[in-house]
Assembly symmetry: C2
Homo-oligomer: 349 residues x 2
């Protein structure tokens, strides 16, 4: 097995977010389910945009946010995704490269515009996302460079990209290359509605090639069609080698075949916008994992990165993440400077 030059290669949608303050009445009027992500076509996107308030544009995309988070923490990350040769494509490409992530998008092509996600942020800091996938949905197996996949310890996939067929084929190709090369495969379930759409396939992936599963409470419950989180956690124990289940302010539960660890969330200085919380949690966790840290430390790193992102608008880090995690990575002083609301570690035989 050759040495790796990247810690993580992330595959996902290449999206520019349009963030706008909104309220419950607006969501109701447009029939939008708060906290979820729905796919919209260009006409729907245009209609919704026309009715929204003024926006702010920031690069986004779930796995792309994770890649940027890993780079911000000091790791080496690459990203695979598809943009159009247009202004938003230029914005996305600039931002992810300027953040230190390897990104060599395929040459420009005819076809739909760069993806955008209209994100309505309500006063409770919840985000409701409406994604026009555009060029991003054109990603296919040809975009997956085997050398790039093999250059990374972990291949990270966002569940959102399971919607378009060519992207699904790209994901399968990436997984096969990674597994054949002795690399790890990580999957984020992304969204409970996304799990609803692809439950059977996601179940096969989790019980099959996936080494590390990321899911929040709603997603893991949806995967196993239960309302009982503990039941879902027990079920995933027997299917995935490592499952990292996030529960917002209740922290995360790390499940392996032989143990369950519960790590408290880090209270944010203020709660502004939850966009990207899961993405940055995954960034912290994967950064720790690829640095050879123990699972509890990985969970704490995820909690710190998530707390930073929900303290401001947008899903890309603004604070110096390396400085924020300083205490956690100091051997013997894991908690310096960090007040976790709750830390419980339960070992099971």
């Amino acid at each position: 097995m050759t040495a790796t030059t990247h810690d993580v290669v992330a595959l996902g949608n290449a999206i520019v977010d349009v963030l706008s303050e909104s309220d419950d009445a607006f969501l109701d009027r447009h029939g939008l389910a708060k906290g979820g992500m729905q796919l919209v076509d260009e006409a729907q996107a245009r209609a919704l945009y026309g009715d929204m308030g003024p926006g702010v544009e920031r690069s986004g995309g779930s796995a792309a946010n994770t890649a940027v988070g890993i780079a911000a923490l000091g790791g080496k990350a690459a990203f695979v995704g598809r943009v159009q040769d247009d202004q938003l494509g230029e914005v996305f490409t600039h931002d992810i490269r300027a953040a230190g992530v390897t990104f060599d998008p395929p040459a420009a092509q005819a076809g739909p515009a760069t993806a955008r996600c209209l994100i309505l942020v309500t006063p409770d800091a919840q985000r409701t996302m409406n994604t026009f996938l555009g060029a991003s949905a054109e990603m296919g197996p040809d975009d997956v460079d085997p050398d790039l996949i093999l250059s990374a310890q972990v291949t990270y996939l966002e569940g959102y990209l399971w919607d378009p067929e060519p992207a699904k084929a790209a994901f399968r190709k990436a997984m096969e290359i990674a597994k054949a090369g002795g690399r790890k495969v990580a999957l984020s379930l992304s969204d409970s509605f996304c799990v609803d759409r692809h439950r059977a396939e996601f179940r096969e992936l989790v019980a099959g090639p996936v080494d590390i599963l990321f899911a929040n409470e709603a997603e893991i419950c949806s995967l196993y069609e239960t309302e009982d989180f503990d039941l879902a956690a027990e079920q995933v124990r027997h299917e995935a080698p490592l499952a990292v289940l996030t529960r917002s302010e209740k922290g995360c539960v790390i499940v392996t075949e032989t143990e369950t660890q519960m790590i408290g969330a880090k209270a944010p200085e203020k709660l502004v916008d939850t966009t990207g919380a899961g993405d940055l949690f995954a960034a912290g966790f994967l950064f720790g994992l690829t640095q050879g840290r123990d699972l509890a430390t990985c969970g704490r790193l995820g909690a710190i990165a998530a707390a930073e992102i929900i303290g401001h608008y947008g899903a890309r880090p603004e604070a110096d993440l390396k400085a924020l995690i300083g205490g956690v990575l100091t051997v013997g002083l894991p908690f310096t400077g960090h007040r976790f609301r709750q830390i419980v570690v339960t070992m099971r035989g």
Copy 2:
């Protein structure tokens, strides 16, 4: 004279800002004068963008920010400017309309892309701007609709648009229509480097058609080629009917033929980014003026709007400006809820 349906019609560059955190070393390396605005061509913009950190896109443009500020304060504003039929043009058009400003851009055309301004924000909250004018510089006399000019009490022009020749012709046309219709003409000098480029013409405008002049300390001193602010203020008294001179944290000086009023600045809750401070000051002032308020109240309204904008990134208001100015507009209770650092009113005969 027919009744007006707008308080202010603003003519200026239609720009999307790309804001990025930066530092003095970066400015030095690129030979950029801190606090200024320089025009760049597409190649220069591309090179600078490639070297910048990740950015956030927000609609901007000096006069456009002022129009949005007036609408946010409860006034009726219209904007005239030129965008391309591209993604950033769509962003600009959406944001200004969603803010309640009348904006009917001319139909799409062949030509350069929508203007963008690469804004480097240093830790001292100063902004250094690099503007690629693109489509904005294509504005010409045909873009000026006489009915729209006559629909507003005040026609407001940003000095920045004096750079491209066709825009200059558009400005002259707008001024002529406004004056012939008994409307007021307001001009912002925009930037001391801009004044350097157009001093003779700006002097003619100030002594001629301009009814209300907005300038900061550096700009008014540059206009009269003096380092003595008081001298410059005395000179403008004899040329413009009303000059509003802003001095950052020292507040503003309002000069008419017969009196000088000094209004203190409002200390911001925090100082984050000065982008748009002058634009929002003008918004507050013009809103007050078109509501028939006395000059001191206009100055206070400007100070409140400016304090809001420098407390966050970007040049478009985030807080509820109507609520912020509530106390100032309450007759007899002009200072309720507002702590101005200094209030001095000097009357001269």
